[in-house]
Symmetry: C2
Subunit: 208 residues, 2 copies
């Protein structure tokens, strides 16, 4: 707190903020105006002390005993996470998964809009999938540069994921959400996150 530079907030704290934002948005939908770290904690199965500590990194949100103003906290978290703007997202891979992602309506009101859907297969290119006409991967770099797209979702087979990721980084993408079940090497300046349902299933079977 007293150092000259802002102390870095642990990444694990940042990772919980989207969960807080999601729960708060749900509470607002339910017509609530005020909540507490206890109510949030119950909903998220996170201790109220942890929630208070996490939020304290970003300033004072609630007075002792009065709780959090939901609307204010939503706006604040959206600003911290930089989703008080709309990010364009490119989806690579127009198979079953890429198609499902392209149809998903849950991105728009949470800060993201799918701008393009790319595939390498001549069978897919030119096809209409939901609101998109599938573009060829050969146009990916140029299109991403032209539209200044910073985020991509990777839904290609594991064996192509590294190559496509390299091309995305070259095109200026700064954050990749990889659905291919393989670890990818990207420069340290690039954000990468993974979604692999099997790792979640295997995590749970340990306990069964």
């Amino acid at each position: 707190m007293s150092s000259l530079s802002t102390p870095a907030i642990p990444d694990i704290v940042i990772g919980r903020l989207p969960l807080y934002l999601r729960a708060l948005t749900r509470l607002r939908q339910e017509g609530k105006l005020v909540t507490s770290s206890h109510e949030l904690g119950r909903r998220l199965d996170i201790s109220s002390a942890q929630i208070r500590k996490d939020l304290s990194h970003f300033g004072g949100f609630g007075k002792q005993g009065t709780g959090y103003q939901i609307e204010f906290l939503i706006e604040r978290l959206q600003a911290v996470l930089q989703v008080n703007q709309e990010w364009m997202v490119a989806v690579i891979g127009a198979g079953n998964l890429g198609s499902a992602i392209s149809h998903y309506r849950g991105f728009q009101d949470r800060g993201f809009r799918i701008a393009h859907l790319f595939d390498i297969s001549p069978d897919k290119v030119g096809q209409r999938i939901g609101a998109f006409v599938v573009l060829p991967v050969s146009e990916m770099r140029e299109t991403i540069r032209k539209d200044d797209i910073k985020i991509a979702m990777l839904a290609v087979p594991a064996e192509h994921a590294q190559t496509v990721a390299d091309q995305l980084v070259e095109a200026g993408v700064k954050a990749i959400l990889n659905y291919a079940p393989i670890n990818i090497n990207v420069p340290g300046t690039i954000q990468i996150q993974y979604i692999d349902p099997v790792t979640h299933l295997q995590h749970m079977t340990y306990y069964l």
Copy 2:
């Protein structure tokens, strides 16, 4: 080590084991027989010290300087995670996402087999999706009980997720992977994990 009961292994360690297993399986595919904590660490962007420490919870896997026998470590991790058997999985929700999950071929060789696909909509029930004929949710409880299914993947709209989860728990399901963007309350004896792409995207935009 010296306590009478086995000390619990931190959940965060368990969560990394599927990543180790995935990386080791990939190394085996590449024809390798032996690896090291350094090689694994580079691939996974996890420190080699962390990997050695994590694996040490499960006994000695490598001698200093000789590395890990990949095949042996794979078998050991599969046994620890209990995926040296095949788990039947029920998928609830036959929309775009449930359909993509049902088509995904990455479950089978990692310990899971989708057994049934359920939906509530009369438009979907009876339809063929990939290898499945969509069953009505009204038959879910009976079918899950009869087949002794312990794992379910939830791909229903957020507003239905809690109700369906309650029914799954009542039917005997012990582990739920929830794709609906909402937190679900389940008894403490039930495993639950979440996949919500937007939380990953929002985590990354913080750093952009």
